[in-house]
């Protein structure tokens, strides 16, 4: 019999939350966007998602086994990293793109820092940025929506960057995901459903997504066109990976600030950087870079937004 008497400070509350439960809930919240992505881009998208998830889990298992650590593939964090990475990939890419990306995400993004909870940067984004810098030709070739074939189509933001956006794309079409882009980012409607689910289950708070999206919208409205305060902010919100980034990537527990105030600053910083990269930067889209840069700033934000301890000045 276990005779250990556990003594701990009050309050003695018990919650059913655990790492595994949270991770699987986030995975569930991502499902609508994945289903939408597979509907829009066809079986190739499903193949990319499966390869990414499986290779992320395999990489986690291999590294933890090799380092003789406890294997924690059942808590779902590796699967979630693989899933998020796949959502950031084009549907038609060679199979080794998700495999390499998942391995880099798990090995360099996470395990090298000491595993889950120790990583400075969002692992899935580390994987994506590595792929983006290494094989840009595969990472920026997007298949046409609803054609289920290898016909390519540039993303709306890429067209905007090259001044080739002649015909107006309807906001409803963008909202439902009828455009070229990464698997998980195109269907904003499905991402919003997932986000509301996470908010209701109290997995995330409103601070980061709202401050992120509002800042990007405001900045693009103010500086997105040749005349000030005439930018097409709605277009900027609905295209690119803004909603995927704001709801699922920037809110990662490990690499974002802890307090509400800190999260507002974090979200606003992400929004500002995203808009700056989109309007003046070299890349058409800046969500992943913005979040990674703010990840690096998160410890500093935490330091200056510490909650006052009750009874002290």
């Amino acid at each position: 019999m276990d005779n250990t008497l556990n003594i701990s400070a009050s309050p003695h509350l018990h919650a059913r939350e655990s790492t595994g439960r949270t991770m699987w809930l986030v995975t569930a919240a991502l499902l609508p966007a994945g289903i939408a992505g597979v509907c829009i881009f066809g079986p190739a998208a499903l193949k990319t998602i499966l390869i990414a998830v499986l290779s992320a889990v395999a990489a986690e298992w291999a590294i933890q086994a090799a380092m003789k650590k406890k294997v924690t593939i059942c808590d779902g964090s590796a699967a979630l990293t693989g899933l998020l990475l796949a959502y950031n990939l084009p549907a038609h890419c060679p199979f080794w793109i998700p495999v390499t990306g998942s391995f880099i995400a798990i090995a360099i993004g996470k395990q090298i820092f000491g595993g889950l909870g120790q990583n400075i940067f969002n692992p899935a984004l580390v994987g994506r940025v590595f792929l983006m810098a290494s094989w840009p030709q595969y990472m920026t070739t997007f298949s046409r929506a609803l054609s289920y074939d290898a016909v390519t189509q540039a993303t709306p933001l890429a067209l905007l960057k090259e001044n080739k956006l002649f015909d107006h794309i309807s906001y409803l079409g963008l909202f439902m995901g009828n455009r070229g882009g990464c698997i998980g980012e195109v269907c904003v409607a499905a991402l919003v459903i997932g986000g509301i689910f996470l908010l209701l289950r109290k997995i995330i708070t409103w601070h980061i997504p709202v401050s992120y999206i509002v800042t990007t919208g405001l900045f693009c409205w103010a500086f997105g066109a040749n005349t000030p305060f005439a930018g097409d902010w709605m277009f900027h919100l609905l295209s690119g990976g803004l909603f995927l980034g704001a709801i699922f990537m920037a809110t990662d527990y490990v690499s974002s600030p802890l307090t509400g105030r800190g999260q507002l600053i974090f979200g606003a910083g992400c929004g500002l950087l995203t808009a700056i990269i989109r309007i003046w930067g070299g890349y058409p889209e800046g969500v992943s870079y913005a979040i990674l840069i703010m990840n690096a700033a998160a410890p500093l934000i935490d330091r200056y937004t510490k909650n006052r301890i009750y009874g002290t000045k």
Binding site: T100, I108, I112, F130, A133, S134, W135, P136
Partner: protein, 197 residues
């Protein structure tokens, strides 16, 4: 003699300038793109370390303490100029590939570090072996990093394609890739050191 051999080998393993002392990382980041660049840079740096060590060790008693750093720089700059002129005359392609990083050997922290930390306190003979050892350690480290980077970043080794159809990761050929490779190697060698304890 045993001491001298020790001075030589400490530069390669125990006090490797790149992986243990973490000195001279700027040229390491810049030129470790291909093995030929690495060996060229390593030889040039070894020549400069060796001769500046010898000269500084032999004139150390005449240099006033307060102006020792300018004196070291004059000695080092002399040998760097010799290296640069020889390289320009006999190895123009290598000189073009290394570019500004040849004259920048003047401010390479390994050279100045050895002058300050070793040659100014030890005999000429010991400084000679220290210089060769440090140069060899730097060259080996540079060659290792550049072999990994040339293979992953360009799909080649010594300028020859190794695996046809292998699509290189461009990031490894960029400075960020150099930081990644150096960081991972440093971690790996630290792991080996801990294991050895």
């Amino acid at each position: 003699m045993k001491n001298l051999i020790q001075e030589f080998f400490k530069g390669i393993v125990k006090e490797n300038p790149t992986f243990v002392l973490a000195l001279g990382l700027c040229p390491t980041l810049a030129v470790s793109i291909s093995i030929s660049n690495a060996i060229g840079m390593g030889c040039a740096a070894t020549f400069v370390i060796l001769f500046s060590n010898i000269i500084i060790a032999s004139i150390k008693d005449f240099i006033p303490d307060k102006i020792r750093i300018p004196c070291y720089i004059v000695v080092i700059a002399t040998f760097v100029t010799i290296t640069e002129l020889v390289m320009k005359a006999y190895f123009p392609p290598l000189n073009r590939a290394l570019g500004i990083y040849v004259p920048l050997i003047v401010v390479n922290c390994i050279v100045l570090g050895r002058a300050e930390a070793f040659a100014s306190k030890n005999s000429v003979m010991a400084s000679l072996f220290d210089g060769v050892g440090m140069g060899a350690g730097f060259t080996l480290a540079l060659t290792l990093i550049s072999a990994i980077r040339e293979f992953l970043g360009a799909g080649k080794l010594c300028g020859l394609t190794v695996i046809p159809g292998f699509e290189p990761a461009l990031i490894i050929g960029m400075p960020s890739g150099a930081l990644l490779v150096i960081g991972l190697l440093l971690g790996f060698f630290n792991l080996l050191k801990e294991k050895a304890k």
